[in-house]
Amino acid sequence: MTALTHGPDALRPDRSFQGLILTLQRFWAEKGCVILQPYDMEVGAGTFHPATTLRALGPRPWNAAYVQPSRRPKDGRYGENPNRFQHYYQFQVILKPSPPNLQELYLESLYAIGIDPALHDLRFVEDDWESPTLGAWGLGWECWCDGMEVSQFTYFQQVAGQECAPVAGELTYGLERLAMYLQGVDNGFELNFNGLEGDAKVTYGDVFRQAEQEYSRHNFEYANTEKLFRNFAEAEAECRALLAAGEGGEGQRHRQVLPAYDQCIKASHAFNLLDARGVISVTERQSYILRVRELAKACGAAWVKTEAGGAA
């Protein structure tokens, strides 16, 4: 393979998608966060990563940042809508307890990616966050840059049915939208991914357009619903079984939370696919959400009985 030659500009956050990610990672690493890698399962949002859902619980301090590919099967548009993808990236920061200067840190991170508050109109507009499937809610804002929502800022009050004590602050950057703004493009598929020009340039579309087309077909047309219903039921049962099996370790510790929580994630994704396939009625929908929530809550209750969850 020929070594690519490029100047340092290629990794500027306003020149490449990957430059944006690298800048944010570096920024938050310098602030003391552990930089994690994406969770290796299909999730609907960065919040589902156990580094947020579970680590937000219990008294132990925890500061982490990571990119999380997120799948929302219903948002698929066959690669035809420039703003909507069934697979996209979130950059997630979780700081527990929420530091007193969290807003300032956030604004500093925007400055780091090239958004100068002397030029741009930055605003914190009320937007309270709630995830019915995770049994989680918090108060906060959507953060606006010149009228565009670029991040979600939340002080978690409850996660997986557990009160947060102490409260964690969560920042979620919508990477595609932010990159489109920084690069000045109106079509997400035209984002410069690697920061190079000419033949060497790789766009977001080069990487993901085919995937958007194939997965849209999958999500809306081909996904085997019988198998998905089965997957949901099996994941639900497995989650419960693992939680039961992990009870009562040494000192009443729980020993099977993370594997159980994986099953909760699996159930949630199966539900999202079934929902996209349109085989779940309005009334059933509520009950499926409730079933996932019950799993998440059971995992949360078990987590606080583990070492990382702060059990004595």
């Binding site: 929420s98 007193p100 605003r123 565009m148 002080y155 004590a165 703004y181």
Partner: protein, 796 residues
């Protein structure tokens, strides 16, 4: 006199909460001061996105001294009582108490407790932290390391600083000494987040407001609004345009900035193909920007945004950014608009109505499809009283909710109705039908207009009646301040539709047309099949009189539309079986067989899963009084006298025609403004007072027998008797024709004879027969006038 300056500096407070919060802050602090006996000259509260501030002027330096006398036990009381008294009064010994005496109690101890007033500063050091802790935010949160404890402070968003100074103008003010959750009050605040973030040291309100202004913070929300309003108008004017004023948006935007800077952006003219309301809704809802119109009244391709900073490039970057977002939003809106138009053009048979079968209107009231079908059937029935064209009404009722399925309304619910009208117009439907798509929601409030087109009126009535009767039948009426389905508004709407369009129809009729449809629904087809002993239910008693139908296999069944139902019985539905009151409690339900043939008592299960609809009679009578209450409120708001409404409703009739009730109230009001009216009312009151007094002696109803002409001695008695009989008859005829003016004229004819009667005769005559006869005359007067209204309920 000293002033208080109090500021709570926090992370961004939601715009919608700021006004109430500043009012609450003022109320809580000043109430607490007054409670402590401290008066003040004035108080003013302010809010910005990052701070609540309160300025209380003219406080005393000290709380006034108080003196309280506390009565104690009698002199010589047992030791226990004396000790208790001393302890409660805070005295060391009885020497400190004085002795008083009164004739009843004799000599007793009195403790004089004199409390010197405390320094106001000390009081504030208690009041201010208590105010912070008990602040009534609609939603509050915990944050930071302190939130490990559940007792940590809750605030709308993290509270970052407290400023509290107290002192007179001539001296250096003091900091009110207190702390909340480790946050100590001080004399420091901060300027604009980006333009002047440094800390600011403050003495009192005057320098506080001035320093904030210098640090790019306009403290007063009213001023921020004015700045935005003026700058917006000026910018618009310079372009020959006019701002589409939007007070709600202005309030919100003023709560999003501390330093408002209005900027103008533009979008492509091509977007102007999209209806103006949709553009406005898009720009308003998503971007919180104002739209503009040109001299021709049409929307212009410009918008105004309110930024929070004076940018170093004059706002060029901000404008460009907002334009990009708005372009993307308008592209979506245009796409929605084009998609919708295509659907309306292509699906001319409205087959997409079927999709409403999957949309729940209310768990107990069925799907949106059920509701539309009910509204259709009811609207057609209503044509008989509204005189609307049956075919147009049918079509209008069928498609009036169809815009709920459009992309545009899905995105911007506030243009529902309007879009229906536009799309229906686009495909060339009758203008009345198109108008009804929008107007059937009307009137949405007391200030909103009432549709005049009979098609709109009819569908609007059907829509509201279905809602009202439906929720009444499932017993979900509004209670107190809770009215989640806006039923009060719907009832007021029905009243105004009837009254302002002159529709004569009784509420009872309206309810009886609506009620059976509420539970005769597509998914509730009566599936009673009489085959063998395994039947779950018998035919409800109240439709035994209908004949069964037979299916292809010869099974007997009953079809829902055949059902005649009893108006006084509640209706129960179990799964898709319609069952009667009697079934629910009869032995038939005691033992039901499960699939394995085991006898099991399933009464509780069935009762629990039954859906109950209240009987027509209950719903009709209850709704009628609800309508009467709403009518009272409406007439009172229109300036009619409250007592006149009560008087009319007290006429002993059902009063179920709301148009007639309204006319009668108006006629009565006019009558009472005449001299005949006031005079007759005075005569009536006199008669009623005498009757009341005499009925106490002789018993209720003692004088209700007809007066005997033979016992009428005086000419004035005879004249009154004759006048009463004439007036009674004339009023009866007039009322029969709903001619209330004539009825009032008939009443007016009574005035002379009544006055003459009271002038000439003494009612309580010596002769008991004469007395009784005269009282009978007065009772007749009471009865005759009551045909028109219960005059005793009229004030004056």
């Amino acid at each position: 006199m000293p002033d208080l300056l109090f500021e709570l500096f926090s992370e961004e407070i939601p715009a919608r909460m700021q006004k109430q919060a500043s009012e609450d802050l003022k109320r809580l602090v000043t109430n607490a001061l007054v409670e402590a006996g401290v008066t003040y000259e004035g108080a003013q509260a302010y809010a910005t996105p990052r701070r609540l501030a309160l300025h209380v002027v003219g406080l005393p330096a000290r709380q006034p001294d108080t003196r309280e006398e506390r009565k104690g036990p009698r002199v010589g009381s047992p030791e226990g009582a004396v000790q208790g008294f001393l302890k409660a009064a805070g005295l060391a010994s009885l020497d400190q108490a004085k002795i008083e005496s009164d004739p009843k109690k004799g000599e007793f101890y009195v403790a004089v407790i004199e409390k010197p007033g405390r320094p106001t500063l000390d009081l504030l050091a208690e009041i201010l932290p208590a105010t912070i802790r008990a602040f009534p935010w609609p939603k509050s949160m915990r944050w930071g390391a302190a939130s490990t404890s559940s007792a940590s402070l809750r605030w709308v968003r993290p509270l970052r600083a407290i400023l509290a100074t107290f002192g007179a103008e001539t001296e250096e003010p003091e900091i009110v000494p207190f702390a909340v959750d480790g946050l100590a009050a001080g004399n420091i605040t901060y300027g604009h987040r980006f333009l002047a973030p440094a800390e600011i040291r403050v003495k009192r309100f005057e320098d506080y407001a001035a320093k904030l202004e210098a640090a790019k913070v306009v403290l007063d929300p009213a001023r921020r609004k004015e700045i935005i309003r003026q700058d917006a108008r000026n910018l618009a004017f310079a372009q020959g345009l006019e701002v589409v004023e939007d007070e709600g948006l202005l309030d919100e935007v003023a709560g999003l900035v501390e330093w408002p800077v209005v900027l103008m952006g533009r979008f492509e003219d091509a977007f102007l193909d999209v209806p103006g309301e949709v553009i406005r809704a898009t720009i308003r809802a998503n971007q919180k920007c104002f739209v503009l119109r040109g001299p021709d009244g049409r929307l212009a391709s410009r918008f105004l945004l309110v930024s929070n900073i004076e940018a170093k490039d004059g706002g060029a970057t901000i404008i460009a950014g907002n334009e990009r977002v708005i372009r993307a939003r308008l592209s979506d809106a245009k796409f929605f608009w084009e998609t919708d138009k295509k659907v309306w053009r292509e699906d001319t048979g409205f087959t997409r109505l079927e999709r409403f079968k999957n949309v729940t209107f209310h768990e107990k009231l069925g799907s949106q499809w059920d509701r539309i079908e009910r509204i259709r059937a009811l609207a057609k029935e209503l044509c008989a009283v509204t005189g609307a064209d049956l075919e147009k009404v049918d079509l209008a009722a069928r498609i009036c909710k169809l815009d709920l399925q459009t992309e545009v309304v899905g995105e911007f619910p506030e243009v529902q109705g309007l879009m229906g009208r536009i799309y229906a117009g686009q495909i060339g439907l009758d203008p009345s039908v198109a108008a009804a798509c929008e107007e059937h929601y009307k009137p949405v409030g007391p200030g909103d207009s009432v549709p005049k087109d009979p098609v709109s009126t009819t569908v609007a009535l059907a829509d509201k009646l279905d809602t009202l009767v439906g929720f009444w039948a499932i017993d979900e009426k509004p209670t107190g301040s809770k009215d989640p389905y806006a039923l009060r508004r719907a009832a007021l709407g029905v009243i105004r539709l009837l009254v302002e369009n002159g529709v004569k129809v009784g509420v009872t009729n309206l309810v009886s047309w609506t009620h059976p449809r509420i539970y005769r629904r597509a998914d509730f087809v009566l599936r009673y099949v009489k085959k063998d002993q395994d039947d779950l239910f018998d035919v409800p008693s109240w439709h035994m009189d209908i004949g069964p139908r037979y299916d292809e296999e010869g099974n007997e069944y009953y079809y829902f539309d055949d059902v005649k139902y009893a108006s006084n019985e509640d209706v129960y539905i179990y799964k898709d079986h319609l069952i009667g009151d009697d079934d629910l409690f009869s032995f038939r339900l005691q033992i039901l067989k499960d699939p394995n043939g085991n006898g099991m008592d399933r009464r509780a299960e069935i009762a629990a899963s039954c859906q109950r609809f209240l009987s027509l009679e209950k719903v009709a009578s209850d709704l009628l009084s609800f309508f009467h209450d709403r009518l009272k409120v409406m007439l009172r708001d229109q300036g009619a006298r409250h007592d006149l409404v009560d008087a009319v409703l007290g006429n002993g009739e059902a009063n179920d025609d709301l148009l007639l009730v309204t006319r009668r109230v108006n006629a009565l009001g006019h009558f009472l403004e005449t001299e005949d009216g006031t005079s007759l009312l005075a005569g009536f009151k006199r008669a009623a007072n005498i009757l009341r007094a005499e009925e106490k002696k002789d018993g209720e109803g003692a004088f209700e027998a007809a007066a005997d002409p033979a016992l009428c001695r005086e000419p004035s008695e005879k004249a009154l008797l004759e006048a009463l009989s004439k007036a009674g008859e004339a009023a009866g005829i007039a009322l029969g024709k709903a001619d209330f003016e004539a009825a009032m004229r008939a009443m007016a004819a009574l005035r002379g004879p009544v006055d003459a009667f009271f002038e000439a005769v003494l009612v309580n005559a010596e002769d008991p027969a004469i007395r009784r006869n005269r009282l009978a005359l007065l009772a007749t007067l009471r009865r005759v006038t009551r045909q028109v209204a219960d005059f005793s309920r009229i004030a004056g």
